[in-house]
């Protein structure tokens, strides 16, 4: 675990307890009041992550049932309509109710601590953002009860997570399931935008003394980039949801081809949001890896300025690649060329990042703790995801494989192999900070290995079934097309993933009560969140910290050889 070096400078005074009016401290009413009325960035951050994990289990169960249906040919486990609802709810929930809140939660919890601030810039806006997100998410699940409406028609959205027109037109989507989908995304979109405003204002306006932009942890830098992407990308999503609402309720003709509207315009508008969204989801993964890899390699990050520049570059390029989701629609060759080229360009800054992480590890004293293992797996898996991404960027290749299981495999390697693995890394790394106890290492190792095997077993075969022509979103398939074995392997992988995840969930609960005490700085790390108590007091720091380098805790622990002499 490394030495517990003294970090006394930021903790001259013992933490004090702030008393507030309300029910008896420790009583159930009080806990409820604390959760509902809180504006504390740490509580809200954990609530975001907790809500995200609950929706993760729900959406994961839907995915498991999808895989059960597809395990063998001509299966009748799920009705076709139910299957459509499940993949729609699974996709929408994983992006908007799992990915987004967990990212927002991590930023909420860590950004103020890392920059030495006491809270977010707008604490009440922060609470508003959380509750509007939660309401929006529950609204979509409420569609199972409320959507049939007067028509007695289908419950729950079944139009796919990108809801291509004209599927969403009143004529083809009776009842209110699509309306719930629209309203839910509008509300969670508002939540995300408020969170983005808060992250930017916090980092720009509440950095502790000495923390110039060039000395911020890379995590904070990447969260700024993500927040700007949210501002620019989430609003177009809101815009096209408003248009769809107008179409469905007031008879507007935005996407009605019979009235001169355009179904392709929906695709453009959706992916103008949808592609930056991919980077909104993966950049936080980079952020986590950029914190964990240096600490467990015992070396500062390699090429800090280049890492920042590459992140900004990725964000910039991501705004101009959206139509690579639409090669199969039929665009001009000019359009195809432009979007293929811009998409290929993204590989350049991304490659730089991968080399910089490798450069950080090169010659370092690697410690294979659980967070580091997840980050190492992330590097390999994200590389595979990037390579299939480069393949799909070639328009003619995409014509062949668009909407096949190859695409499904590609983006699950991005979102599970990239994002989810780093989220697990982050949980193992920062759980001791948030709860004061270490997560159990043996259970962590079991979680890591079993889940990783399950993940590859599920998604690697989908590359092959996709290339053999299996289309996504079909509820069943005939035997003898060469897809049977691959699908069976995929479905068996789910069992491994479920076992791995149950170790994780059990570990979260068990360690909360029985885990080893963590102390302030269990990993011998360098950023400011480790300078305060675990869990941090409501005001984070007794005394506002002052930093001189990118690794303030290194400076404190090594007064003889501080970083600021070299930077």
């Amino acid at each position: 675990m490394g030495e517990h070096a003294s970090t006394a400078t930021y903790r001259d005074v013992e933490p004090t307890v702030i008393t507030r009016p309300g029910a008896e401290p420790g009583s159930r009413t009080r806990i409820f009041q604390d959760l509902v009325f809180t504006v504390d960035h740490k509580k809200l951050g954990l609530m975001y992550i907790g809500a995200g994990l609950i929706f993760f289990v729900v959406a994961g169960l839907m995915a498991a049932m999808i895989r059960m249906q597809l395990a063998i040919p001509n299966n009748t486990f799920l009705e076709p309509e139910v299957f459509n609802r499940f993949f729609t709810m699974h996709g929408t929930a994983m992006v908007f109710f799992v990915g987004m809140p967990i990212i927002t939660g991590m930023a909420n919890y860590l950004v103020p601590l890392m920059i030495g601030a006491r809270d977010m810039a707008f604490p009440r806006l922060n609470a508003f953002g959380f509750w509007i997100f939660l309401f929006g998410a529950l609204l979509m699940y409420f569609s199972y009860l409320g959507a049939p409406g007067l028509y007695g028609a289908g419950s729950a959205p079944d139009v796919g997570w990108f809801a291509y027109s004209p599927l969403t037109a009143q004529a083809f989507s009776r009842g209110h399931s699509t309306d719930y989908w629209i309203l839910s995304l509008l509300l969670t979109g508002i939540g995300s935008i408020t969170a983005a405003i808060n992250i930017i204002a916090t980092t720009f306006c509440f950095r502790c003394k000495g923390m110039t932009l060039g000395k911020m942890p890379l995590f904070v830098w990447l969260m700024i980039v993500v927040a700007f992407l949210i501002l620019i990308a989430l609003s177009p999503l809101s815009a096209c949801q408003i248009m769809l609402l107008l179409d469905r309720f007031l008879g507007a003709n935005f996407f009605d081809t019979q009235q001169g509207g355009s179904a392709v315009l929906w695709q453009h508008f959706f992916w103008i949001f949808g592609h930056p969204e991919v980077y909104i989801l993966i950049l936080p993964g980079f952020a986590v890896a950029s914190e964990i890899i240096p600490v467990f390699s015992r070396k500062p990050i390699f090429g800090y300025p280049v890492m920042v520049a590459a992140s900004v570059m990725i964000a910039f390029l991501s705004l101009g690649v959206w139509a690579h989701h639409m090669f199969a629609v039929g665009m001009t060759s000019m359009g195809n060329t432009f979007f293929a080229t811009s998409t290929l360009l993204v590989a350049v800054p991304t490659g730089i990042k991968i080399f910089n992480w490798l450069g950080t590890m090169w010659g370092g004293q690697l410690r294979f703790e659980v967070p580091m293992l997840f980050c190492l797996a992330f590097l390999f898996q994200f590389l595979i995801a990037g390579l299939t991404g480069v393949m799909l960027a070639i328009a003619p290749f995409d014509w062949q494989l668009s909407d096949s299981y190859f695409v499904v495999a590609h983006f699950h390697y991005v979102l599970i192999g990239g994002l989810l693995f780093t989220i697990f890394a982050a949980v193992y790394y920062w759980y001791p900070k948030a709860f004061g106890r270490m997560l159990d290492k043996r259970m962590g190792l079991l979680h890591f290995w079993i889940f990783m095997i399950g993940f590859h077993l599920t998604f690697f075969p989908q590359h092959i079934s996709g290339m053999l022509g299996m289309p996504r979103r079909y509820y069943t398939y005939d035997a003898g097309r060469g897809w049977d074995t691959w699908n069976l392997m995929s479905s068996i992988g789910v069992i491994f993933q479920a076992i791995g995840l149950s170790f994780f969930v059990f570990n979260l609960i068990w360690s909360y009560f029985k885990g080893a005490k963590a102390g302030d700085d269990p990993w011998d790390a360098w950023t400011l969140e480790w300078a305060t108590s675990s869990p941090p007091a409501e005001y984070n720091f007794e005394k506002a910290p002052e930093v001189k380098s990118r690794r303030p805790l290194w400076d404190l622990k090594h007064p003889d050889d501080p970083d600021w002499k070299h930077e």
Binding site: G116, A117, R118, D119, A121, F122, P123, I193, A196, I197, N198, I200, A201, T202, F204, C205, F206, R207, C208, K209, G210, A227, F228, L231, I232, A233, L234, S235, P236, S238, A239, C240, I242, M243, L246, L250, G251, A252, N253, F254, Q259, G260, G261, S262, L265, F269, I272, K543, A544, E546
Partner: protein
């Protein structure tokens, strides 16, 4: 909400209020961009009358009202900074008046389009994009007017002091943004689209 560092004179950080409002306006710009692009994309694609060239009239007076309200709000801000609270109320009230006149012009324009020309949001893609873009802007004018009005109420309640000039400035930034959007809407809808 201020950290100890913020009070230190050699460690200057931007104002969170301004940063937040700038972020909000970036998001709003992205929102409007999509509606403007949709409008431009659908110019000339309506399959049935009424066509924009037949029914749209240049809203010159409305435009003058809205744009000059950006001037009156600057005057109001200047008065507040000097502590001239009555001057502030006068210019601020003038801004609200101009905003209401603008909304009145829009109301009459829409009444004419709906009642006399038979243009509904469902009539053709011109109706669809026109009502949604101009409507989205008008919604922003309404929200802005409510903000302006609440500041005026605060000032008459004696709650508005000289030191609140940054709060007031944020309202005026929003108002300038609404004006700037109108310039784009005017160009796209009434000049290019006609």
């Amino acid at each position: 909400m201020s950290t100890a560092a913020a009070s230190d004179s050699d460690w200057k950080l931007p104002s969170p209020r301004k940063t937040g409002v700038i972020c909000l306006l970036i998001a709003e710009t992205a929102l409007f961009s999509i509606f403007v692009v949709a409008y431009i994309y659908y110019i000339g694609r309506e399959l049935n009358p009424p066509f924009p060239s037949e029914v749209l009239k240049l809203p010159i007076l409305a435009t003058i009202c809205l744009l000059s309200s950006s001037g009156t709000i600057v005057m109001a801000e200047g008065a507040l900074k000097k502590g001239a609270i009555n001057g502030f109320r006068l210019w601020w009230g003038a801004t609200i008046f101009l905003a209401l006149v603008f909304l009145l012009f829009t109301a009459f324009e829409w009444r004419e389009l709906i009642v006399e020309d038979g243009l509904y949001i469902s009539t053709n893609v011109f109706g669809t994009t026109f009502y949604s873009l101009v409507g989205l802007h008008a919604t922003h004018v309404v929200i802005g007017s409510l903000l302006l009005l609440s500041v005026l109420i605060f000032s008459f309640a004696g709650k508005l002091q000289k030191q609140h000039h940054e709060h007031v400035e944020m309202v005026s930034w929003y108002w300038h943004f609404v004006d700037a959007v109108w310039i784009v809407v005017f160009l796209v809808v009434y000049i290019i689209g006609r």
